[in-house]
């Protein structure tokens, strides 16, 4: 068979049922082989979106997402998606075509040094030199992408390798002697951790994307129940605890809740699970959780001690470690109520009352649609069960605060890189992965306009994605910072032209509508969700709302600003 057919055979072996891409000159042989092959190729409208769609697919399922681009501009268009999946540890295999081997290094038409360019934006990358090494490399790529700390792996394939003829010999084992994955966790450290958890008076479980990646949300819930301790989940970890779980507090960090941030600050033991002490969570690092001892579980040894030195480091798959930890915790459960139990009960009580006293509550108005009102509506129709893919900005933060997620892999957003333009194409991937699920793509008026070409993909595949634009007429999150920290000098943040949603959607052959009045919102959202096909709902919200609570950058997380400054009283 040809190299192109062999590549498809590798994808079949890896269980790939669909992937996202855009063809070009050097990938012609590959697309020719694809012509009568059962694997589904989804033609997006820009390569960046092929990678974002693959991410949506991967984030919704945990499976490896696959994207494909031609050499030169095709490959360079993938970069943002690669970095995005690197930052959020999402398993992606990116396939790129390359000019024929004999032309490499000659500045041939559409030649780019893809292997060199993508070195720093992938977990690992390959250039295939001949057809004989193609199967090994492709299977290695899938293995590396999905195992350990997941991430993107790129395979660059010259045109002549696609055209060469050879035999596919199944690859029975992956031999990467330098790729060490530690999954089990050190038994002694796990025991120490269990002991410390029983002895803590104010424990806090701080859980993140690692819990989702490792499929460990059940184990996390068990742990919080075993010791009746509170849990906060990061932006990447939303859904790891069901929103209604009695031990779930909320999201910590820059736009986190009072309870979550004060809880971390006052805790005497933080159990960090699949998190990386990101600056958006910790605020000023030196002031973060000053009284807390730290237990840090992560599969990536380099995360441990990177930002905060733990008292008990545990390198391992957080699911395996939690299974063991929960067992030891049960074994060690003191027969008598421990000395600390009263303190711990009071602590849990304190957090629950903070959560009630300072809720992340929706704001409404009779005259205009408040952004928080829109989030409450999305929350209502989702009921904790819809997939929501978000873009980046204020709407993302309000959604993270106000929309409930009762299962992992429902909340899909660009966390680490914060890539605008992510929300729409990732919904495409998520909808292909979960054809039966309600997929809501929540985007800002800025990010939506970065992704408009993908309306064509949605229309041509008839994907029932519900696009909801939170339209505040601004690059809202940047406007907020200019408002708060640059004397409200609004520089290049006005989005004064936005297409008519009904006409725009209509131009692509589906329905759309704009709502402006608060009393119309509920019905409009219902109609959007009820539509069997795609729908574009443009919601005009009040333009000058800011996201609170907010920890100003460089501040400690207990120094939250809870709301807008009260207007001065005019005499």
């Amino acid at each position: 068979m040809s190299g192109a057919q062999m590549l498809l055979e590798c994808l079949v072996q890896e269980g790939v049922d669909c992937f996202f891409g855009y063809p070009g000159g050097v990938t012609l042989p590959f697309y020719d082989a694809l012509y009568d092959h059962p694997i589904r190729h989804v033609l997006v409208r820009h390569e960046e979106n092929a990678c974002f769609a693959a991410e949506g697919y991967a984030r919704a399922t945990g499976k490896v997402g696959v994207c494909c681009a031609t050499s030169g501009p095709g490959a360079t268009n993938l970069i943002t998606g690669l970095v995005d999946s690197m930052m959020d540890s999402i398993p992606i295999v990116a396939l790129t075509g390359q000019v024929s081997s004999s032309l490499i290094g000659t500045d041939a038409f559409q030649e780019a040094d893809t292997f060199g360019i993508t070195r720093s934006c992938t977990k690992h990358n390959y250039m295939v030199r001949n057809i004989a090494e193609l199967p090994r490399i492709v299977h290695e790529a899938f293995y590396v992408a999905a195992s350990g700390r997941p991430g993107p792996v790129l395979v660059d394939i010259p045109k002549d390798v696609f055209q060469a003829m050879g035999h596919y010999t199944p690859v029975h084992s992956i031999h990467l002697p330098g790729y060490k994955v530690f999954t089990e966790g050190h038994a002694g450290q796990i025991r120490r951790a269990a002991q410390m958890i029983w002895e803590a008076e104010r424990p806090m479980f701080y859980a993140g994307g690692g819990i989702i990646a490792a499929d460990a949300s059940r184990e996390l819930q068990e742990l919080t129940e075993l010791v009746d301790g509170p849990a906060v989940t990061t932006l990447m970890g939303l859904g790891a605890m069901p929103s209604g779980h009695p031990n779930f507090i909320s999201m910590p960090g820059m736009h986190g809740s009072y309870a979550a941030n004060m809880g971390l600050t006052q805790s005497d033991l933080i159990v960090a699970l699949g998190v990386r002490f990101d600056d958006r969570v910790t605020g000023r690092l030196a002031a973060f959780a000053p009284h807390a001892k730290i237990i840090h579980v992560d599969i990536d040894p380099a995360e441990i001690g990177k930002n905060r030195t733990p008292d008990v480091p545990i390198v391992g798959d957080v699911k395996r470690v939690l299974q063991k930890l929960n067992k030891v915790i049960e074994e060690l459960k003191p027969a008598e109520a421990p000395r600390t139990e009263t303190a711990r009960r009071a602590w849990m009580h304190k957090l629950r009352s903070w959560k009630q006293e300072f809720p992340l509550a929706p704001v409404t108005s009779d005259t205009e649609i408040k952004p928080q009102h829109l989030m409450a509506e999305i929350d209502r129709v989702s009921g904790g069960k819809a997939i929501v893919t978000s873009d980046v900005g204020q709407h993302q933060m309000w959604a993270a605060q106000l929309v409930r997620f009762d299962l992992p892999r429902l909340w899909i957003n660009s966390g680490g890189l914060g890539s605008m333009g992510f929300g729409l194409p990732s919904a495409i991937g998520a909808q292909f992965a979960r054809p039966e699920s309600l997929v809501i793509s929540l985007v800002g008026d800025g990010g939506f306009q970065m992704a408009i070409p993908e309306l064509a993909t949605i229309a041509s595949y008839g994907l029932p994605v519900k696009i909801i634009v939170m339209n505040n007429g601004y690059l809202g999150m940047v406007r907020q910072w200019q408002d708060l920290f640059y004397n409200n000098r609004l520089s290049s943040v006005t989005l004064d032209c936005f297409p008519d949603a009904e006409k725009l959607a209509g131009a692509y052959g589906f329905k759309g509508r704009t709502v402006t009045q608060p009393h119309e919102l509920a019905a409009a959202v219902d109609a959007c969700i009820a539509e069997p096909g795609p729908y574009l709902l443009n919601v005009k919200v009040s333009p000058f709302e800011n996201v609170y609570p907010m920890v100003p950058s460089g501040g400690a997380i207990n120094e939250m600003v809870m709301g807008p400054p009260q207007p001065a009283v005019v005499k």
Partner: protein, 183 residues
């Protein structure tokens, strides 16, 4: 401070780029770097001197170990090890100081590898800091030109090389593969 790292690296395309790339991406300054083949032609030994704060040393090693082509990363700064560097010096001297200069060369244990009426070419090996001193000394005799090799180091402790054994693939009927964290 200067941290000396020794890496055992697979001779794969781009391996050197990965190592230097990650160091620069993480903001560590490379002071010196040597690469050469080992007894096993498929492996290279790299010795890298990086300028890094004391508290980040462990992080540097972890970042190196994350690279798939790196089989082993060792911090030579702690633990018993030997570190050597070679320098070639072209020294111009005036006629009257030739003997004195040769004396210094002899005391240091360096060698003259070329001699002319203008001066000498001198080869010296030693601990990098000792070489600094020697170079300083040579400079006091006049204009010099220097080419240093960068440090190479070897550990005197017996550290087991731990390698990942082969992992069966899906094709072999195991669970490893798409979306499954390996165990």
């Amino acid at each position: 401070m200067m941290q000396v790292i020794s890496l055992l690296v697979e001779n794969k395309p781009g391996a050197l780029l990965r190592v230097t790339g990650i160091l620069s991406a993480r903001g560590y300054n490379i002071e010196s770097l040597t690469v050469a083949r080992t007894l096993d032609p498929e492996l290279s030994r790299m010795t890298i001197g990086v300028d890094v704060e004391e508290r980040l040393r462990a992080q540097v090693i972890k970042q190196m170990n994350k690279l798939i082509n790196v089989l082993q990363a060792t911090d030579m700064t702690d633990g018993r090890s030997i570190c050597r560097e070679m320098v070639l010096i072209k020294a111009r001297t005036r006629q009257e100081s030739r003997t004195a200069l040769l004396k210094e060369v002899e005391i240091f244990g360096a060698r003259v590898v070329d001699s002319s009426t203008d001066g000498f070419a001198i080869e010296a090996t030693g601990d990098p800091e000792k070489l600094d001193e020697f170079i300083g000394l040579m400079r006091s005799y006049g204009e010099i030109e220097v080419a240093r090799s960068g440090a190479v180091a070897i550990s005197l402790e017996s550290k087991k090389l731990r390698l990942q054994p082969p992992v069966p693939t899906r094709a072999a009927g195991s669970l490893a593969g798409n979306g499954v964290l390996n165990g």
